[in-house]
Amino acid sequence: MNIEDELRGALDVPVPPPSTTLDDVLKRGRRRVLTQRAGAMLGVAAVVAGIGFGAMTINLRKPPAPADDVDYGPAVVLHDVEWPRVQVARRTPVGSESACAPAGEPNVGQDPQGAERLSAWFTRLQGVVPEMQVTAPEQRNDFNYQVEVGDNLGPGKVRRERGFFDGSPLEAANAAVWATGSCEPPQRMTDANGAVYQLYDVRPDPESGAISQTLYVFLPDRKVFRVQQLNLGLTSTRSTRPSLPLTQEQFAKLGPIIAEVG
């Protein structure tokens, strides 16, 4: 018997009687739920207060509007991507949670992407975030390519994977509308060549405490790319910076770049 076979039987060991009861776990679990809800409410209150304070401050610092200028612009400018959302009804979260079950995830991560293309993509990514440090990983693999993107807030990462789909890009994009755990439909843009870009809302990861955002790119040659940005360093399993490394606008630019360099 070799060592792998020995390992396969490692769960077949006698277990001492447990000291944990179901009641213990239920009590701690309920406390955790209450704490999470209280934290979420405080977080929302803090965000609302922050936005209100920020808007008021900006308005106070703004010079008086010229009399003939009827629209001096909004007090707070959001640099969001202006792609329309896919026209389907939002889903209802399960129970008290904010998450919905992922469905229709494209099959990616099984196909090598080629060193030349990855190198070209890496260079273009550096161009999107010239103010940040972009570090290629020490160990690259063609299936799941990750780079670290960081600044003084800490390191994050961007990864890309490739796969193939059947049908047209639009059909594949429709099938992947709920590919992440978001209850809101994604934003979508179709370019002149028929490539479809689908940008999903930021999602929290319950285990690591990290957040991530996903962009799917469906190309006319039936290649699909999944690009994700996370506030995790390359070797981390816990969040390493307070926000995602790229703004939504910068992240969305990676779609057309992939369509160009593959």
Binding site: I3, E4, L7, P14, S96, A101
Partner: protein
């Protein structure tokens, strides 16, 4: 309450399994119990959004990550207790696989986690990568290095299937 009923059923059927998994990782029944309990508490909090068919994998992921977090923080194993336990749980239990367990403890924590997921739970490389939150290449290298250390600690002659 339906949530509690479903969760209770899951807890009853899988708690010992989670303890065994944690024990394979940490080699100490007391710590394994603590890890398993923490995993089920976290699972309870997320229970409405967990699909029943993936609940086992969800708990296994938490067990693995709680274990790795504890090793990353250099966890102090001495903990104050209010009352003495009624029975010993701290490694005194008779374990016929003690040699394997002792050898496993010589393997670095992340490599050990890769070995447990790959061989004890028979997960694919891709599934192991997803549970550990790392790349496929990283799982391959961690597995290969872990197997080499384990063989040396176990005293087994080199006779093994591929790490991949």
């Amino acid at each position: 309450m339906r949530r509690d009923e479903e969760f209770s059923e899951f807890f009853t059927s899988r708690f010992d399994w989670a303890r065994r998994t944690a024990y394979a990782l940490c080699g100490d029944w007391s710590e394994a119990e603590e890890i398993a309990q923490n995993a089920f508490v976290k699972a309870y909090a997320k229970w409405p959004s967990i699909r029943r068919e993936t609940a086992e994998g969800y708990v296994r992921t938490i067990v693995t990550r709680v274990f790795l977090d504890s090793r990353r923080r250099g966890r102090d194993r001495e903990r104050p207790v209010a009352d003495l336990p009624e029975y010993g749980v701290g490694g005194g239990f008779s374990d016929p696989d003690a040699k394997l367990n002792a050898a496993l403890q010589q393997v670095a924590p992340k490599q050990r986690a890769a070995l447990v997921l790959r061989f004890v739970h028979d997960l694919s490389i891709e599934q192991t990568a997803a549970e550990l939150g790392c790349s496929v290449g990283n799982v391959k290298s961690q597995t290969a290095r872990g197997l080499a250390t384990l063989r040396e600690a176990y005293g087994e002659p080199v006779n093994s299937e591929s790490a991949s």
